[in-house]
Amino acid sequence: MRHRLFIILSFLFVLVPTVLATDQVRVAGSTTVLPIVAEAAKHYRKLHPGLSLTVSGGGSGVGVASIDQGLIEIGMASRDLTTTEKQRLQGKVRQVAIARDAVAVAVSKAVFDAGVTQLSLAQIAAIYRGEIKNWQQLGGPDRRILVIDKEASRGTRHVFAKVVLGSERARAAGATIITGSNNEEQAAIANSDKAIGMLSHAWLNDAVRAVAVGEANEAVLPTFENVANGRYPIQRQLNLLVSEKSSEIGNTFIDFLLSSKGQQLVQQVGYLPVR
């Protein structure tokens, strides 16, 4: 009996480290990029059964910070690296664009249905600066505006603030609440009848509608076409950050994302392919 126990234990001691030693790729960061990588990971795992591939969120700021600290193999960022980050990560990390995306200016269905279907950049900025406080001022219903801002480190906020407020880290004095992931923001807009927020366009749905952005006669919706031809003003690249000394596996995973199959998945989850 004791003999058998001994054998089982030694098996465990041998097996567990072997399992742990299999190739591991950890991916974390932007919740905008996450659906692409999660979908690709599903297919990639079938091709490489022995591989441990984990994907988690946190936001672009988390993606950049974690790759910097060596906690993950691949970081996700829905914005370009800032100048300070570039200096910090020089020679350590490579940035690979895998998709293009529009940051939609999203409003609650009730607001959209009441007639607010187009806003100029100046109007959006006025809302976020706290100068416009009621939908009535924009031709909507007589309701105060629930202005949803995002955590300062989020990629979506960087891109939005840069185009709308003039600087990627501009303050938004008109903000009512702060949310984090795309999920949280989407739920907050959907559960309200007076909200405005910034959201990756892949997260729009029936209860969360995008307004056309621009002056009255030339406003454009965040569609594939308008992103591709550059007419939609708030758009960006979705990036992966790979550590330069990262294993082969990390690189092959990125090659998979850039392959025609990978780019097909990009389109399938709602983003514009780069190739």
């Binding site: 910070a65 903000a175 009512t176 609440i177 702060i178």
Partner: protein, 276 residues
Amino acid sequence: MLRFWLTFSALTTALVIATLLGFLLQASWPLLQSQGLSFVTEPEWYPYEALYGLLPVLVGSFWSIVLALLLAVPTGLAAAILCAELLPGRGRAVLRFSMELMAGIPSVVYGLLGLWLLLPLLESQFDLLTGRSLLAAGLLLALMILPTIMVFSETAIRAVVAEQRQTAMLLGLDWPTRLLRVLLPQAWPGIRIAILLALGRAMGETVAVMLVVGSLDRLPQPLYNLLQPAQTLTSRIGREMAEAAVGSVHWAALIASGLTLALVAMALSLLIQRWR
């Protein structure tokens, strides 16, 4: 030998706490070095502009905890008295069991309940822009600490020895007098611990608060306005910890928030230990 091990264990505990405080102090040093202690009273938190004021979160934490205790201590104590003294055996078992069940529910579940039930309710009742507010955080925390207060207080009240009750009855004291003069004073050390544990849970709770408080780094206007979105110490740490680069001033400021929380918790627990 036994004596040695007891001393050793006790010292280890003390050492762990000292190490923890030392670590927090060391990690928040970059902030203390650049700003001194003034960050506690600064009203603006904006890491990208090197502004690290803790005043809004201190006010936020203060109100959410005070509100939670004001609601949960009287109700929890009342439920404990009801359960220990007035209910027959079966009712008592059911009440106590449901409270124990409530204590075991993970905090994120409370947070989601708050998100789906409490926020729309507050929004429509008070005609607010959003239900996310200190009031929502306080109400949710009250619900979360209620079982702790109730279960521990009930145990303390039932632990009052039978002789004391019988003597009081033989003296011809009526029930309110027996409760206020005999039972509660006798059970007070236990009730005090119940409040202390509840306070600890309310102070440390992160996820549930984060979901309903609105996370807006702004002082309430006026300071006692509980109907506005706000931020607490823990909800800020929860939102920003992962993104701050280790060793940066931002990171140090978040650790300093944790240190502040730890110091306040220690001070409060000392105070409650002495409060007889």
